[in-house]
Protein backbone atom coordinates (compact mmCIF):
# COMPACT_ATOMS: atom_id res chain seq x y z
CA UNK A 1 0.00 0.00 0.00
CA UNK A 2 2.86 2.35 0.87
CA UNK A 3 4.55 1.71 -2.44
CA UNK A 4 1.59 3.22 -4.23
CA UNK A 5 2.42 6.71 -2.99
CA UNK A 6 6.15 6.52 -3.39
CA UNK A 7 7.89 7.77 -6.49
CA UNK A 8 8.99 4.85 -8.61
CA UNK A 9 12.14 4.47 -10.62
CA UNK A 10 11.16 3.75 -14.20
CA UNK A 11 13.71 2.48 -16.69
CA UNK A 12 13.11 2.05 -20.38
CA UNK A 13 15.01 -0.43 -22.50
CA UNK A 14 14.68 -1.38 -26.16
CA UNK A 15 14.39 -5.14 -26.21
CA UNK A 16 11.10 -6.34 -24.70
CA UNK A 17 7.42 -5.81 -25.10
CA UNK A 18 4.21 -4.29 -23.78
CA UNK A 19 0.85 -5.81 -24.56
CA UNK A 20 0.02 -6.84 -28.11
CA UNK A 21 -2.76 -4.30 -28.27
CA UNK A 22 -0.18 -1.52 -27.88
CA UNK A 23 1.83 -2.94 -30.74
CA UNK A 24 -1.22 -2.76 -32.93
CA UNK A 25 -2.00 0.77 -31.84
CA UNK A 26 1.47 2.17 -32.33
CA UNK A 27 2.46 -0.01 -35.19
CA UNK A 28 5.82 -1.29 -33.83
CA UNK A 29 6.94 -4.44 -31.99
CA UNK A 30 9.66 -3.06 -29.67
CA UNK A 31 7.91 -1.82 -26.56
CA UNK A 32 9.66 -0.87 -23.33
CA UNK A 33 9.47 -2.69 -20.00
CA UNK A 34 8.76 -0.70 -16.88
CA UNK A 35 10.86 -1.57 -13.84
CA UNK A 36 9.27 -0.44 -10.59
CA UNK A 37 11.55 -0.14 -7.58
CA UNK A 38 9.64 -0.39 -4.29
CA UNK A 39 11.07 1.66 -1.41
CA UNK A 40 10.12 0.73 2.17
CA UNK A 41 8.55 3.41 4.35
CA UNK A 42 11.49 3.73 6.72
CA UNK A 43 14.05 3.76 3.90
CA UNK A 44 12.18 6.61 2.22
CA UNK A 45 12.18 8.50 5.52
CA UNK A 46 15.92 7.89 5.95
CA UNK A 47 16.55 9.51 2.55
CA UNK A 48 14.63 12.62 3.64
CA UNK A 49 16.37 12.74 7.02
CA UNK A 50 19.79 12.51 5.39
CA UNK A 51 18.82 15.38 3.07
CA UNK A 52 18.08 17.39 6.23
CA UNK A 53 21.56 16.65 7.57
CA UNK A 54 20.62 14.02 10.15
CA UNK A 55 23.02 11.11 10.50
CA UNK A 56 20.85 7.98 10.43
CA UNK A 57 20.48 4.51 8.93
CA UNK A 58 17.57 2.15 8.34
CA UNK A 59 17.71 -1.22 10.08
CA UNK A 60 16.49 -4.48 8.50
CA UNK A 61 12.94 -5.53 9.43
CA UNK A 62 12.69 -7.30 12.77
CA UNK A 63 16.40 -7.03 13.52
CA UNK A 64 16.05 -4.99 16.71
CA UNK A 65 14.47 -5.85 20.04
CA UNK A 66 12.25 -2.74 19.86
CA UNK A 67 10.43 -4.23 16.87
CA UNK A 68 9.67 -7.41 18.77
CA UNK A 69 8.02 -5.69 21.74
CA UNK A 70 4.63 -7.04 22.75
CA UNK A 71 3.16 -3.53 22.72
CA UNK A 72 4.30 -0.24 21.30
CA UNK A 73 2.16 1.73 23.77
CA UNK A 74 1.99 1.75 27.55
CA UNK A 75 -1.82 2.20 27.30
CA UNK A 76 -1.73 4.77 30.08
CA UNK A 77 -3.32 7.22 27.66
CA UNK A 78 -6.89 6.64 26.60
CA UNK A 79 -7.59 5.44 23.04
CA UNK A 80 -4.09 4.12 22.42
CA UNK A 81 -4.07 1.84 19.38
CA UNK A 82 -3.85 -1.90 19.97
CA UNK A 83 -3.53 -3.27 16.45
CA UNK A 84 -0.56 -1.76 14.67
CA UNK A 85 2.04 -2.99 12.18
CA UNK A 86 5.73 -2.25 12.42
CA UNK A 87 6.96 -0.63 9.19
CA UNK A 88 10.62 -0.32 10.07
CA UNK A 89 13.14 1.15 12.46
CA UNK A 90 15.69 3.92 11.91
CA UNK A 91 18.80 4.34 14.04
CA UNK A 92 19.72 7.98 14.67
CA UNK A 93 23.28 9.02 15.53
CA UNK A 94 24.52 12.05 17.52
CA UNK A 95 21.05 13.10 18.73
CA UNK A 96 19.09 12.74 21.94
CA UNK A 97 16.68 10.51 20.03
CA UNK A 98 18.09 7.01 19.54
CA UNK A 99 15.56 5.48 17.14
CA UNK A 100 12.59 6.41 14.94
CA UNK A 101 9.97 3.71 14.37
CA UNK A 102 7.26 3.83 11.71
CA UNK A 103 3.94 2.22 12.56
CA UNK A 104 0.88 1.58 10.42
CA UNK A 105 -2.59 1.43 11.90
CA UNK A 106 -4.68 -1.72 11.51
Amino acid sequence: MWAAILPVAVEHTHHSSHADSHEEEHGHGDAEPIIIKKVAAHEKLVQKMKESGIDCESLPYGSHQLEREEAYYSHVFALSSRLVTNKGLIKVEDKNIDFVQILQRN
Binding site: I54, K95, N96
Partner: protein, 172 residues
Protein backbone atom coordinates in the same frame (compact mmCIF):
# COMPACT_ATOMS: atom_id res chain seq x y z
CA UNK B 1 -7.60 16.60 0.75
CA UNK B 2 -6.61 12.95 1.38
CA UNK B 3 -7.87 10.38 -1.11
CA UNK B 4 -10.42 8.04 0.41
CA UNK B 5 -10.57 4.45 -0.75
CA UNK B 6 -14.15 3.97 -2.15
CA UNK B 7 -14.19 0.26 -1.24
CA UNK B 8 -12.20 -0.09 1.99
CA UNK B 9 -11.50 -3.58 3.29
CA UNK B 10 -13.12 -4.45 6.63
CA UNK B 11 -9.76 -5.69 7.97
CA UNK B 12 -6.02 -5.24 7.47
CA UNK B 13 -3.80 -2.20 7.61
CA UNK B 14 -5.30 1.25 7.22
CA UNK B 15 -3.79 4.18 5.33
CA UNK B 16 -2.57 5.87 8.52
CA UNK B 17 1.00 6.10 9.74
CA UNK B 18 2.71 7.29 12.91
CA UNK B 19 6.36 8.09 13.69
CA UNK B 20 7.60 7.12 17.14
CA UNK B 21 10.73 8.94 18.33
CA UNK B 22 12.36 6.58 20.81
CA UNK B 23 14.74 7.45 23.64
CA UNK B 24 16.56 4.37 24.89
CA UNK B 25 17.21 4.83 28.60
CA UNK B 26 17.01 2.24 31.32
CA UNK B 27 16.03 3.89 34.59
CA UNK B 28 13.88 3.11 37.59
CA UNK B 29 12.30 6.54 37.16
CA UNK B 30 11.04 6.10 33.56
CA UNK B 31 7.39 6.27 34.63
CA UNK B 32 7.88 9.82 35.93
CA UNK B 33 8.31 11.31 32.45
CA UNK B 34 4.75 10.64 31.35
CA UNK B 35 3.38 13.77 29.65
CA UNK B 36 0.90 14.96 27.08
CA UNK B 37 0.84 18.18 25.09
CA UNK B 38 -2.37 19.69 23.70
CA UNK B 39 -2.87 22.93 21.78
CA UNK B 40 -5.10 25.76 22.96
CA UNK B 41 -6.71 27.07 19.76
CA UNK B 42 -8.85 29.97 18.61
CA UNK B 43 -11.05 30.20 15.54
CA UNK B 44 -12.38 27.49 13.28
CA UNK B 45 -11.48 25.89 9.95
CA UNK B 46 -9.20 28.15 7.92
CA UNK B 47 -8.81 30.75 10.65
CA UNK B 48 -7.95 28.20 13.37
CA UNK B 49 -4.66 29.03 15.12
CA UNK B 50 -2.71 27.85 18.14
CA UNK B 51 -2.53 30.50 20.86
CA UNK B 52 -1.02 28.43 23.65
CA UNK B 53 0.30 24.99 24.57
CA UNK B 54 -0.98 22.96 27.49
CA UNK B 55 1.22 20.30 29.11
CA UNK B 56 -0.19 17.71 31.48
CA UNK B 57 1.72 14.89 33.08
CA UNK B 58 3.18 13.06 36.01
CA UNK B 59 5.62 14.45 38.54
CA UNK B 60 7.29 17.78 37.71
CA UNK B 61 8.27 16.80 34.19
CA UNK B 62 5.36 18.65 32.57
CA UNK B 63 6.47 21.84 34.37
CA UNK B 64 10.01 21.44 32.99
CA UNK B 65 8.63 21.16 29.46
CA UNK B 66 6.25 24.08 29.98
CA UNK B 67 9.14 26.27 31.12
CA UNK B 68 11.06 25.73 27.87
CA UNK B 69 10.11 28.82 25.82
CA UNK B 70 11.88 27.66 22.64
CA UNK B 71 10.02 24.35 22.76
CA UNK B 72 6.69 26.16 23.14
CA UNK B 73 7.42 28.32 20.08
CA UNK B 74 8.28 25.27 17.99
CA UNK B 75 5.18 23.42 19.22
CA UNK B 76 2.93 26.27 18.11
CA UNK B 77 4.18 25.70 14.54
CA UNK B 78 3.31 22.01 14.37
CA UNK B 79 0.40 21.46 16.74
CA UNK B 80 -2.30 22.14 14.15
CA UNK B 81 -0.89 19.28 12.09
CA UNK B 82 0.14 16.96 14.94
CA UNK B 83 -2.91 17.58 17.13
CA UNK B 84 -1.36 16.11 20.25
CA UNK B 85 2.08 14.96 21.37
CA UNK B 86 2.49 12.20 23.91
CA UNK B 87 5.54 11.20 25.93
CA UNK B 88 4.89 7.54 26.67
CA UNK B 89 7.34 5.61 28.89
CA UNK B 90 7.70 1.86 28.47
CA UNK B 91 10.10 -0.57 30.18
CA UNK B 92 13.56 0.44 28.98
CA UNK B 93 12.67 3.19 26.53
CA UNK B 94 10.43 6.23 26.11
CA UNK B 95 8.34 6.96 23.03
CA UNK B 96 7.40 10.43 21.77
CA UNK B 97 4.67 10.54 19.11
CA UNK B 98 1.87 12.57 17.60
CA UNK B 99 -1.41 11.48 16.07
CA UNK B 100 -1.97 9.14 13.10
CA UNK B 101 -1.36 10.79 9.74
CA UNK B 102 -2.88 9.76 6.42
CA UNK B 103 -0.35 8.33 3.98
CA UNK B 104 -0.87 11.22 1.55
CA UNK B 105 0.33 13.69 4.20
CA UNK B 106 2.89 11.43 5.88
CA UNK B 107 6.43 12.77 5.42
CA UNK B 108 9.50 13.71 7.42
CA UNK B 109 8.90 16.90 9.40
CA UNK B 110 12.10 18.69 10.46
CA UNK B 111 10.37 20.80 13.15
CA UNK B 112 8.69 17.75 14.70
CA UNK B 113 12.05 15.98 14.78
CA UNK B 114 13.65 18.97 16.56
CA UNK B 115 10.78 19.07 19.06
CA UNK B 116 11.15 15.36 19.82
CA UNK B 117 14.92 15.77 20.12
CA UNK B 118 14.47 18.65 22.58
CA UNK B 119 11.99 16.67 24.68
CA UNK B 120 14.41 13.72 24.59
CA UNK B 121 17.15 16.03 25.87
CA UNK B 122 14.97 17.02 28.85
CA UNK B 123 14.20 13.35 29.52
CA UNK B 124 17.85 12.32 29.52
CA UNK B 125 18.95 15.25 31.70
CA UNK B 126 16.24 14.55 34.25
CA UNK B 127 16.63 10.79 34.44
CA UNK B 128 20.43 10.94 34.61
CA UNK B 129 20.30 13.52 37.42
CA UNK B 130 17.89 11.31 39.35
CA UNK B 131 20.00 8.23 38.77
CA UNK B 132 23.08 10.09 40.06
CA UNK B 133 21.18 11.23 43.17
CA UNK B 134 20.11 7.65 43.83
CA UNK B 135 23.65 6.33 43.35
CA UNK B 136 25.03 8.92 45.80
CA UNK B 137 22.38 8.00 48.38
CA UNK B 138 23.26 4.30 48.13
CA UNK B 139 27.01 4.95 48.39
CA UNK B 140 26.48 7.13 51.46
CA UNK B 141 24.49 4.35 53.11
CA UNK B 142 27.22 1.77 52.43
CA UNK B 143 29.95 4.08 53.75
CA UNK B 144 28.04 4.72 56.96
CA UNK B 145 27.52 1.00 57.49
CA UNK B 146 31.22 0.26 56.92
CA UNK B 147 32.27 2.80 59.56
CA UNK B 148 30.74 0.56 62.27
CA UNK B 149 29.61 3.49 64.36
CA UNK B 150 27.33 3.03 67.37
CA UNK B 151 23.76 2.42 66.29
CA UNK B 152 22.37 5.71 67.57
CA UNK B 153 25.05 7.75 65.76
CA UNK B 154 24.48 5.69 62.61
CA UNK B 155 20.75 6.35 62.70
CA UNK B 156 21.28 10.10 63.11
CA UNK B 157 23.84 10.27 60.31
CA UNK B 158 21.62 8.22 58.00
CA UNK B 159 18.71 10.52 58.78
CA UNK B 160 20.84 13.60 57.93
CA UNK B 161 22.09 11.92 54.75
CA UNK B 162 18.58 11.04 53.63
CA UNK B 163 17.43 14.60 54.28
CA UNK B 164 20.25 16.01 52.13
CA UNK B 165 19.64 13.56 49.31
CA UNK B 166 15.88 14.12 49.49
CA UNK B 167 16.43 17.85 49.16
CA UNK B 168 18.73 17.31 46.17
CA UNK B 169 16.11 14.98 44.69
CA UNK B 170 13.39 17.61 44.96
CA UNK B 171 15.59 20.22 43.33
CA UNK B 172 16.27 18.05 40.26
Amino acid sequence: MPKQDPTPLPYGPLQYYQSHFIVKIDSEENDNVLARCEPVTKGHFGSKRVVDIKWTGADKFAEVLRADARLTEMLKEVMLREGEIRVDPLGDHIRIYGKWIHEDAFAFNQTMFEIADRIAGHIKTRLRARRNALTIARRCSYLLLEMKLPLIVLEKLQFCGKAVVSQAWLEV
